[in-house]
């Protein structure tokens, strides 16, 4: 608890970090600050209690952790599992990494969705609403982390992905995986707090961690952020995704849409008028579908 108390600082308007006493920090805290989860991969022991808790919480596959030997293979999340823990053999020994939806600050999937079925909530989690979804799978194409998973085997398919236990959050509880974690690998809190904790750990143990917080800048910032002892490309993360929020890739095009709808019809009418004056001598002769006798 000391750690948390020490780190009760806040981020005002996402720019300046103001260190202050707790009361002040509480007052200036942005009530709409996104929540997120910090994953310190140096602490994870690969027990997969989080996988079990996730499966139980959301009526998904509950893995048989003792016997299924799943850590031997590199897994991805699926339509039956919202999160998986993978083992990576690195220069610093085995590293266990929990992977799931990153809950991006500017979520590509939510931007891509034509019906707001995939929604970036005000609290931070990205959730899915089956009552609106078309099943067009544009979210899957757009997601830089490939997290939305589709039930190809169902006539009534759902998009499956981590919701950061949105219902539990609304009830004031922590996400199931965080609650289940026995080693404090997972820390739930506002993202600003989590970033402070992560930075503090890097500064206090500069030799233990690589000096990067995955998710601080990647794809414009993500709700889940990661600490690691080895470079992130060695533990299964893509490091070529860039720091630009993905919705910005379609920003210019979507700006252009109303421009075109304003401008082009007027331009075409103008062209038509100009073309008309040069052809006027022919008069009625021009008409692709003729007016017949009555014209």
């Amino acid at each position: 608890m000391d750690r948390r108390g020490f780190l009760k600082t806040t981020l005002v308007a996402g720019t300046a970090a103001l260190a202050g006493n707790q009361v002040q920090a509480q007052e200036t805290r942005n009530p709409e600050e996104f929540v997120g989860i910090l994953v310190d991969t140096t602490r994870c022991i690969g027990c997969r209690a989080c996988e079990v808790a996730c499966g139980e919480e959301h009526d998904l596959l509950v893995p048989d952790v003792i016997n299924d030997g799943a850590l031997e293979a590199q897994r991805t999340t699926s339509d039956k599992q919202w999160m998986v823990v993978n083992k990576h053999e690195t220069e610093k020994g085995d590293v266990y990494v929990k992977r799931q939806c990153m809950h991006c600050y500017q979520a590509a999937c939510a931007t891509a969705c034509p019906t707001i079925a995939m929604e970036k909530t005000k609290k931070g989690p990205v959730i899915w609403d089956g009552g609106k979804c078309l099943g067009c799978r544009f979210c899957m194409v757009s997601c830089p982390f490939d997290m939305p998973k589709f039930e190809y085997g169902s006539w009534n398919p759902k998009l499956q992905k981590c919701t950061m236990c949105f219902e539990r959050l609304q009830a004031g509880q922590k996400p199931a995986c965080v609650k289940a974690c026995p080693t404090d690998t997972l820390i739930f809190g506002t993202r600003a707090d989590n970033l402070e904790i992560a930075r503090h750990r890097i500064y206090s143990h500069p030799d233990k961690y690589v000096h990067q917080i995955y998710g601080e800048h990647e794809v414009g910032g993500t709700g889940y952020i990661y600490l690691s002892a080895v470079p992130f490309d060695q533990i299964g993360f893509r490091t070529d995704l860039g720091n630009k929020p993905y919705p910005e890739y379609t920003k210019e095009f979507l700006y252009a849409v109303p421009m075109v709808l304003f401008g082009v019809p007027a331009f075409l009418l103008g062209l038509n008028a100009l073309a008309g004056s040069s052809n006027s001598a022919e008069g009625e002769a021009f008409d692709p579908d003729r007016e017949g006798g009555e014209g």
Partner: protein, 397 residues
């Protein structure tokens, strides 16, 4: 009053039933091939809707979009670009040389949108929500897909209104025909504007897939490339389709317009040559800007060169050469190459270079191909039914 309307409706239905009857022989090679394909396609669709997309397609979590989207929708709509180009030339620029192909081109576009955009319904996982982007509180304004949904719907309406005078003429609705005729310029301008946006929008769908598409095919200018290439795709398609139609429906077309059609083909070839030349240089500019020469060394590089040189530059020069030497055969061959180039480009962006680094790559299942063929054959059936009954090929008389 109401009895008169009823009688009128009765006459019309009798007329419709009369028109529904098949004309011409039944056992043609096309029917023999298409009927089994269509029936098989229907069976496949039954399995698709009962057991899910996975039962009939090779789609996976890594490849959420396959042949139905990449070929039917993205490629099919590009090939339907001819209508907005021709209506622009004829109605906006008032070049009357192309009058005689306006009706058939608009009909082709209308059917292409109904069938190929309609193919999206098979690909949607939850098609019963297909109207969600149009109604209620589910407007995903930030989505390119939302834009595409709206534009497909609006363009179908526009193309239908553009074509409707022909239907009115067929049904002998003189008054309606005159009213609908008056709407043409407005809908043409609306249709062109929509086309510019959704042709480029189909490219914009892939902007956020940046890390998954090979850098030789991903560019922030995909929307512009898709728009420009849809112009010559449409022109090449008119040449290709027109050549076939003029052979198959010979008896429906009077000899005068046969000669006129050759002249039209050369005009289109000239337009295609210039557009392809510009498109080629756009590709070259992006290539230089992104410093992509380092990517040419491997198979993907050769594949890219094949597409850009073999299926853009070469057919572009063939169009120019064929136009200059008045060689119909070279122009027709060029149009086929240009169409293959468009298919190649759209499939490269949407499927082939998508996740080029994957160990296991997607390829379409036979069911996906049969359903695609079913869609194409059904469209041809409807097309044939319409052109043999409505005055589609008839020039102004």
């Amino acid at each position: 009053m109401s009895t008169a309307v009823t009688r009128e409706m009765g006459h019309f239905f009798q007329f419709l039933i009369q028109e529904m009857k098949p004309r011409g022989p039944w056992l043609t090679p096309f029917n023999i091939i298409s009927v089994p394909v269509i029936l098989t396609g229907l069976v496949i669709l039954y399995f698709r809707f009962v057991y899910g997309l996975g039962a009939v397609t090779n789609l996976s979590q890594d490849f959420p979009w396959g042949f139905w989207l990449g070929f039917d929708v993205v490629t099919g709509i590009a090939l339907a670009g001819g209508a907005y180009v021709i209506t622009f030339v004829v109605y906006v620029m008032k070049v009357d040389k192309y009058q005689s192909i306006v009706r058939v081109t608009v009909l082709n576009a209308l059917l292409a949108y109904i069938f190929y955009a309609g193919a999206l319904l098979f690909d949607l996982g939850r098609p019963w929500h297909a109207f969600n982007p149009y109604i209620g509180n589910s407007f995903g304004f930030s989505s390119v897909m939302f834009l595409i949904c709206w534009h497909f719907m609006l363009y179908m309406v526009a193309a239908f209104v553009e074509f409707s005078p022909v239907i009115a003429e067929w049904a002998h609705w003189e008054k309606a025909r005159k009213i609908l005729k008056g709407l043409t310029l407005g809908t043409v301008i609306f249709g062109i504007t929509l086309s510019i946006l959704h042709q480029s929008g189909l490219g914009a769908l892939f902007l956020m897939a940046k890390p998954k598409i090979h850098p030789l095919w991903w560019s922030e200018f995909i929307p512009i490339l898709f728009f420009v290439s849809s112009i010559y795709a449409g022109l090449a398609m008119i040449i290709f389709e027109g050549t076939i139609s003029h052979r198959v429906f010979k008896n429906l077309i009077d000899p005068d317009s046969h000669h006129a059609f050759d002249d039209i083909i050369f005009g289109l070839a000239k337009g295609a040559a210039i557009t392809m030349f510009v498109y080629y240089f756009m590709k070259a500019l992006l290539f230089v800007h992104d410093k992509q020469w380092g990517l040419l060394g491997d198979g993907w590089g050769y594949w890219y060169l094949l597409e850009v040189l073999g299926f853009v530059l070469v057919p572009g020069f063939m169009f120019a050469f064929g136009f200059r030497n008045r060689s119909l055969n070279i122009v027709k061959l060029a149009s086929i190459l240009a169409l293959l180039g468009i298919v190649l480009n759209r499939l490269n962006v949407s499927i082939i270079s998508f996740r080029w680094y994957a160990d296991v790559h997607y390829y379409p299942s036979w069911q996906e191909i049969v359903v695609t063929l079913m869609i194409i054959f059904t469209e041809i059936w409807i097309f044939r039914w319409i052109v043999t009954r409505m005055p589609v090929f008839k020039p102004a008389h």
